[in-house]
């Protein structure tokens, strides 16, 4: 059964995937460390603390120190995961990540819950809308957001097993479980959910579910959709984007500012190739506020309806 035929009923937050996978990885490899900054419960590392206390450090509310400490650990062969919220992991720690992790290319992973608009009721201060863009501009950094529980677990596992800095972004809220447990993922390789010939939709993270719904509806209306899960925005799967140029028209969908994230990364390739057209669905370069998550998506046009309308406009 193809993923598009599945009824997506079960839901789980992808921060849970990190919490579960990191325990498994930590047991397999004693060099895996978790560095918490006082929000272990919220970032789902409590089990790791309980089961692997000797591989755990909590520095309190001191993110900058956490990043530097992780770099120091990495120089001794450890594989530290700094666990925090995306808004702090990308911004409060940004310079430390640049200077002490990316510049010396150390094997540090930044694992962040509360990605995008998912910390909805926390308000604009806590919604990380620019994180992936910031991290994408640091040399040596890999930037990833899985779409659901199982894909996130696989991507966390791969991040632990590859050498080098990785930024992983998770959802606070639950998202539908899209993939089966046995589905394979490769960092830097887009996951093709469906082949199509009229329009291509490239989505990632918590918005993949919206892209799936939009695809189903467009197909019903006789529009053939190619659908990609671009879980890694850096290194971007350039070949997959170039393949979309055979379709010609591309919609990107992301829970991130339309500046500097997935949409921008795709536009860079399309512009360099000199053909094709892109429409970006995402956060409209504006801060959020306290509101239900779905309401915030709606305020930015990150909806099934808007994806469908955008597709139709592009096909006119």
């Amino acid at each position: 059964m193809s993923i598009l035929e599945k009824t997506l009923t079960t839901k789980k937050a992808t921060r849970e995937a990190f919490g579960d996978e990191i325990v498994k990885l930590g047991k397999e490899n004693k060099d895996i460390y978790v560095i918490d900054v006082d929000i272990a419960k919220s970032c789902k590392t409590s089990n790791f603390i309980k089961q692997l206390p000797d591989q755990h450090i909590n520095v309190g509310i001191a993110e900058q120190n956490a990043a530097g400490l992780a770099a120091g650990l990495a120089t001794t062969g450890k594989i530290p995961f700094v666990s925090t919220y995306a808004v702090f992991g990308s911004l409060r720690m940004a310079e430390q990540i640049r200077q002490e992790v990316c510049y010396p290319n150390l094997n540090v992973k930044i694992a962040c819950s509360h990605g995008g608009l998912t910390p909805a009721n926390d308000g604009g201060s806590h919604q990380a809308i620019e994180d992936m863009g910031v991290l994408r501009s640091f040399p040596n950094m890999t930037v990833i957001m899985g779409a659901d529980y199982y894909s996130t677990r696989k991507l966390v596992e791969q991040a632990a097993k590859m050498y080098g800095p990785v930024y992983l972004r998770f959802t606070r809220d639950t998202v539908p479980m899209i993939y089966d447990e046995n589905e394979e993922f490769t960092i830097g390789k887009a996951k093709k959910l469906q082949e199509g010939s009229d329009i291509a939709i490239i989505a990632n993270g918590d918005t993949l579910r919206l892209a799936i719904e939009a695809t189903k509806e467009l197909e019903k209306q006789g529009i053939s959709v190619k659908l990609l899960d671009m879980h890694t925005i850096k290194p971007l799967d350039r070949d997959a984007v170039v393949e979309c140029l055979n379709v010609g028209k591309i919609i990107t969908v992301e829970d991130h500012n339309i500046l500097n994230g997935l949409g921008s990364a795709v536009c860079e390739v399309v512009a360099e190739e000199g053909k094709g057209k892109v429409s970006r669905v995402g956060v409209q370069d504006q801060f959020g506020q306290s509101a239900p998550y779905e309401k915030l998506l709606e305020l930015n046009g990150i909806t099934v309806e808007n994806i469908i309308n955008t597709a139709k406009e592009m096909l006119q």
């Binding site: 000797d54 591989q55 450090i57 520095v59 309190g60 001191a62 900058q64 120190n65 956490a66 990043a67 530097g68 400490l69 992780a70 770099a71 120091g72 650990l73 990495a74 120089t75 001794t76 062969g77 450890k78 530290p80 310079e95 430390q96 200077q99 002490e100 510049y103 010396p104 290319n105």
Partner: protein
């Protein structure tokens, strides 16, 4: 812990070579930071030529003592130690800040053997040292971590985040030195942003502390002897009263010599003065 059997008098002689080498590389490059390099010269000599358990032929040896130059801009004095110890050919000093040189403007662990962590952005190095020291404890290794901070650098909040972590994790394998030369780029620290009593600050954070004359090789060596045996669960902080530009009369206590290179005439005078040893 293997400590080299070397006398204070011999260390003083090496300190002269360290200062000469640092000033020479900055003069050749016509760029770099002489003031802080000279204030840190005596400690760096004692660490590299007596105290630290290191092997220039095996710079990545996993049981080595680590050194973190948190005030990364004074790397010429660390480069002097690396060149004199043979981590790199001595002639490397003539390539400071040049394209392709292991001696980058600020320490780069990817380009230079003997650099345990890249630094350059102030306030960040100590956190890395804390990470190394925690790893040493968890892995039951006997190596120690030495880190040199500037006094001006202690204006950065992250220093204190790192300090509280060192105390929490009982890092008695971590020794922090503060090069208290009382000057920063814009002037005296007391005018730019007073630091109050740095030693007391580290003490209330939970460090075992001591304040010494950072240009007395006798005091430095004596202090390192004390620190070596103090395995009491407390990280150590040694505040060293120093003079920026120490050993070159026209640079001493002059903020402007933070980051400028001497011209040919000034260089000649500097080498002459340094050769006579510290007064």
């Amino acid at each position: 812990m293997k400590v080299k059997n070397i006398s204070v008098e011999e260390l003083k002689e090496i300190a002269i070579e360290m200062r000469k080498t640092a000033v020479t590389m900055i003069h050749k490059a016509q760029s770099g930071h002489p003031g802080g390099s000279l204030s840190a010269a005596d400690l760096m000599t004692a660490l590299y030529f007596k105290e630290m358990n290191i092997d220039p032929n095996n710079p990545n040896w996993e049981d080595r003592d680590r050194f973190v130059l948190s005030k990364g801009h004074v790397c010429p004095i660390q480069y002097s130690a690396l060149a004199l110890k043979g981590y790199v050919p001595y002639e490397t000093i003539y390539t400071l800040r040049e394209y392709g040189s292991p001696f980058q403007g600020h320490p780069d662990m990817k380009k230079c053997p003997g650099i345990d962590i890249s630094t350059g952005s102030l306030g960040q190095g100590l956190s890395c040292g804390v990470g190394m020291a925690i790893a040493g404890k968890r892995d039951k290794k006997s190596y120690r971590v030495f880190s040199l901070l500037g006094d001006g650098e202690c204006q950065e909040g992250q220093i204190w985040e790192a300090a509280q972590t060192a105390v929490k994790y009982q890092l008695d394998n971590l020794v922090v030195f503060v090069d208290n030369n009382r000057l920063q780029i814009d002037g005296f620290t007391d005018e730019i942003m007073p630091l109050q009593d740095i030693e007391k600050k580290f003490e209330v954070f939970g460090f075992e502390t001591k304040r010494i004359d950072g240009h007395s090789m006798e005091e430095i060596v004596e202090t390192l002897d004390e620190v070596r045996v103090a395995k009491n669960g407390k990280p150590k902080c040694i505040v060293m009263d120093t003079v920026k530009g120490k050993g070159v009369s026209y640079m001493e206590d002059v903020a402007e010599w933070h980051g400028v290179a001497p011209n040919d005439e000034e260089y000649k005078q500097a080498i002459g003065e340094i050769s006579g040893g510290l007064k």
